[in-house]
Amino acid sequence: MSQAQFIVSVALVLVMVGLSLMIGGLGSFWERKISAWIQDRIGPNRVGPRGLLQFMADGVKFFFKEDIIPANVDKVVFVSAPLMVLIPAMITFAVVPLGRPFIWAGEQLMFQIANLNIGVLYILAMASVGIYGIVFGAWASNNKYSLMGGLRASAQMISYELSLGLSLVAIVLVAGSLSLSDIIAGQTGYWFGVLPKWNVFCQPLAAITFIIAMFAETNRLPFDLPEAEQELVGGYHTEYSSLKFAIFFLAEYINMFLQSALAVILFFGGWQFPGLELLPKTLWVSLLSFGVFFLKALAFMFLYNWVRWTLPRFKYDQLMRIGWKRLLPATLANVFITAVWLAVTA
């Protein structure tokens, strides 16, 4: 890696760490606002202008709350479990292409932290590691309700990761590479001059299954039984208070943002927008493409919230049935059809 690329990568690391923390804060604020608007009410609007500093008030609240560690918990695991959820979520951003490559002093620099040629595999691996944190937190809590929540969460996430992965396999077949930048590069151009060559148009079934699986991966309604506020108190994060709870909370939002970013990259062209190919390959255009990518990911965050207040929660058996008996055959069929099509037309 050249020196300039290293500098870009380090700068992007700092940006993404900061952005992740901001997503946790502003994400929770916008979630409350949009949830309120859907329910015909106004959300928080007292702290700061139009309520925008509400997340800072929440942060201060989390800092000053009493940090309770129950008596019979496994202390080491209990304290480290939230980090085991947060860290995989944050380091997955390393392979996410954030913007268009640009030319600086004669060389082409990638606007991403690391251009792994097995990007998709890395993402699936990190998503799996994130499940450990939830199970550890649930188990270490010494609380049967947390345990139930944690087990349900892990079973749910494992089941839907299969469908997630198989949707990705279809995309990888279409793109011919596991690297996320190549997948985006495969989505340049237009059909009939006007329709962008986004994967959502040529792989609609994979898009639908990915979006359904992404809701299940992040434990969001309609798949949020692990948190099931009305049934399990708090699920796996019942016993957590103050900062440890804040970290679980933050990790959930970062996961949501990550999955949204993935959906954008895999199906909606990533940082591309119509007209981008006319612009020169400078740093400013890369920043513009980053802005477009961010907006697209925010649209998916809005989708998360929108669906949350539309659908009722699935029962656990319904959830598992959908994961194994409906989604998995659909994604398998999609992979099969894609493979046959590519073999026939190649």
Partner: protein
Amino acid sequence: MAINVGRSKKLTLAERFYFPAILTGMKLTLRHMFSKKITLQYPEEERDFLPNYRGVHRLNKGESDRIKCVACEMCASACPAHCITIKATEVDWEDRDKIPKIFEIDELKCIYCGYCVEACPKDAISMTRLYHMVDRNREDMVFGLDKLLSIYDETKDEKTLDGEDFGVGDEQRRPVDLTSWQKPAPVSPAIGTTSAGGGH
């Protein structure tokens, strides 16, 4: 008694995906997102209460600015919370022998039921639409005679809950018409005629 809902329509394959239902639901939530919000921003906006709202009490004044109350203690007897304390004193006016020397309502004990207003024969006590009652100690929330009269001075022109709202004089409140709720008498096939009038 079993009620047959009659769900004979089986879902089609497309319906079983639930996608159309989900999209309909999402359209509904989106519509709500852009509709008018019903939140009331207190304290900048306050609710406008109906005229019959039961708020803080006041003692009414009659002609020549004299208190209407005759210290008969009917309100104190009617009060379920026993929050009214009255001590009468003699007075030599043309229409009464007594007026209250001490008339205290403990607004914290009061349950705001309005029985005192209903019980008063002289329309001397009413309930206003004031509801902001904040103070720093319990003693100040026991409203005395002067406080209750000063509330009258403040709300003189407003419509308050008076005794008239419970019926005027001996006239009872108009009863609800129950005859419209009575089921018609069943037809008796043996006799061949309908029974007359409302049975029971």
